[in-house]
Amino acid sequence: MSDNQQTKRDAAIDALYEEAAHWELNTGGETIHAKRMPGRWRTRKWWADAFWLIFFFGPYLRWGDRQAVLFDIPNRQFHLFGVTVLPQDIWMLALLLLFFAILLAVVTAVVGRVWCGFFCFQTVWTDLFTWIEEKLEGPPAKRRKLDKAPMDFHKFRIKLIKHLLWLLIGFLTGVSFVAWFTDAYQLWYDIFTLNLSVVAASTIALFTAGTYGLAGFMREQVCFWLCPYARIQGVMVDNTTAVPTYDFHRGEPRGRIKKGQKDQNRKLGDCVDCGQCVAVCPTGVDIRHGQQEGCIMCALCIDACDAVMEKVGRPTGLIRYESLDELNGKETRPIYMRPRVWIYTAVLTLALAGIGYGLLSIDAIEIKVLHARQPLYVMQSDGSVQNKYTIKILNKLDQDVDVKISATGPKGLVLVGADKPVYAKRSKVTPRTLFVRVPRQNLTSETVPIVFHATGRTRDGKQFASERESVFIGPR
């Protein structure tokens, strides 16, 4: 091998390593202390954060003598203000999940990771935790210094208060979560009298530890390495999606401003390489590298850049919400011309319509009819055929009611066991075994349809009814 070739090879290898050295992998080795700057997007972020107040205060709303919204798992009931949903109507939950899944998709397709940047609990709780950190320890530079300083009474006091506050928020998060599943006031009473159930106590403990660990320490690491949505959302973004983008046409080549230099003499782009966009980033990425997995699209860099642009007397919007196509001067279609948006919207509408229909059409009672399979039919001594049915009456009312059962079907049908009405307990399924006899000569085929009717009146005289078709089976 000649010397020349050897040097070439060495150079190639060096280049390889150089590339790897510049690829920064944020694995949480260093705590990111993001700077806080006021601005349009910062304000909006606060409003989005405030959305989570519902989570904290929602459980204390009352409706009549119970909690307004309560997921009562032991009793298998879900109360939503005036409506009570039983497991039998749980298909609406599927539609609700579909609705939110598609909402996530449509929002991401149009304006990027709004969920991640503004509404996600990880983002919001981290925002709150770092806010507390800033109030106690000061701006990022001071925080870094404090982290490095040796432990003394002053540092210990600050850190102790911070961690206690974090734990308190974690605890309140746990209590609020549990409060959606059990009576909120009773829960607090149980907490103060140390009477918590094991499930409630361990859930609160888990949430306290989870909140403390995830928002206090893991922070952006969750978005980088734990969260599946972060990766899925990246797939939903395309060239037409408006996301916080650095306008490299205008900004490059970047360079620092020299003191005393006249603006017209500057040959560089608008980016003054002040690094403010990186300083404010809660995940520590550089937006000027373009779109990347670490960017949760919180738009805080837009605030930072705009503030700097105003200071140095250049137009704002060097970093702005813009799609890649627009940035490159390509013609872009408006939102309503994009099939993706149309399809998402159609699914959204369908899911909403389904939920609306479901909530409006919840019946007072619902019956199910189970035809006995073993045996399918029994011959009687008078030559008639007997079938056995189990009628299951689901009472969705808030009171116990008497339900009368009748049946219509082949001629000469006799219903046995339905003389007394069924006493259906509220929010429960009450079964009743019934027999139906039909003279054999009246059966036109092996199976004939039969319809069971359940009717009754509530205490205030309102009538309700439900019916269900089944089959009557006879010999061939």
Partner: protein, 287 residues
């Protein structure tokens, strides 16, 4: 290996081959290492709390764990829990007659649910899982009963068992034509119109109306239900002729039909028999 690191300031381990191939040290993130050690601690704690190491030397079996947990204990606790739920019902059943249980709607519902297993273990082999009977075994779900379908009779039938008897009439007593004639009128449900019914003494057991006698367990010959249903491609007529010819449980005829319900009085507790009686009653034919 070089004495001096030719690539200072880089996070290599100092292991360098072929001049410039070097091993870098990129440790996993701290949180990952914490999780790694915590899971090992978890494993150690688990081994202390629960049984873990099998086949200890010295024949001591296995480590028992400080809590003394065993799967068997957990199972027994589960059973005890279920029995606690059942106890009030079982106590009530013990103090009531089957007829009274039947009148108490809630208790009857419990009884039917809890007797399902008993029925499967003791009755279903002959009478079918739904009481639908089988070749040679009576249907329990219809309204035709040899000994009566009221609850007390059902209790008695289960406790004592049943073994009825019908003498074989073939050969000396009835000619082939007479048997044919009787069988045809039985299948048509009009045996009382056949003079042979009275003349040949059928009336003695099956009664003047041909509906059978409950204390004897003699069959009702006028309805649409037959104690012995045709098997192997024979017709109902063949089946009836066979019964008349060879009888039922008749010691004098080795081809006589076998029909015996064993007694369960010494196999099942009184409570279980009550439960089964209610269950059978509720199959669809109770009277």
């Amino acid at each position: 290996m070089a004495d001096k690191n030719p690539f200072p300031g880089e996070n290599n381990t100092g292991h360098i081959w072929d001049d410039n191939l070097r091993e870098l040290n990129n440790p996993p993130p701290r949180w990952w290492m914490i999780a790694f050690w915590v899971s090992i601690l978890w494993w150690i704690a688990y081994g202390i709390i629960y049984p873990m190491w099998p086949a200890l030397p010295g024949g001591t079996g296995f480590t028992k764990g400080v809590t003394g947990w065993t799967a068997m204990k957990e199972y027994k606790e589960g059973v005890a829990e279920v029995q606690e739920v059942r106890a009030p019902f079982e106590k009530k059943i013990a103090s009531m007659s089957a007829a009274d249980i039947l009148k108490d709607e809630g208790l009857a519902e419990y009884t039917v649910a809890s007797a399902k297993v008993l029925f499967g273990d003791n009755c279903a082999a002959c009478h079918g899982s739904g009481g639908q009977g089988g070749p040679g075994f009576p249907v329990l779900a219809d309204d035709d009963w040899l000994y009566g379908g009221d609850i007390n009779t059902i209790v008695q039938t289960i406790t004592m068992g049943r073994k009825g008897m019908m003498p074989a009439k073939g050969g000396a007593e009835l000619s082939a034509e007479e048997i044919d004639s009787l069988a045809k009128s039985i299948v048509a449900g009009k045996v009382t119109e056949n003079p042979l019914f009275v003349a040949k003494g059928c009336i003695g057991c099956h009664g003047p109306d041909g509906k059978g006698m409950k204390p004897l367990g003699s069959a009702n010959l006028t309805d649409q239900i037959f104690r012995f249903v045709p098997v192997n491609g024979e017709t109902q007529l063949d089946s009836v002729k066979y019964t008349i010819t060879h009888g039922v449980n008749f010691p004098g005829d080795p081809k006589s039909r076998v029909a015996e319900m064993p007694s369960f009085g010494d196999r099942l507790s009184e409570n279980d028999i009550k439960k089964l009686a209610v269950y059978v009653y509720k199959l669809g034919g109770g009277q």
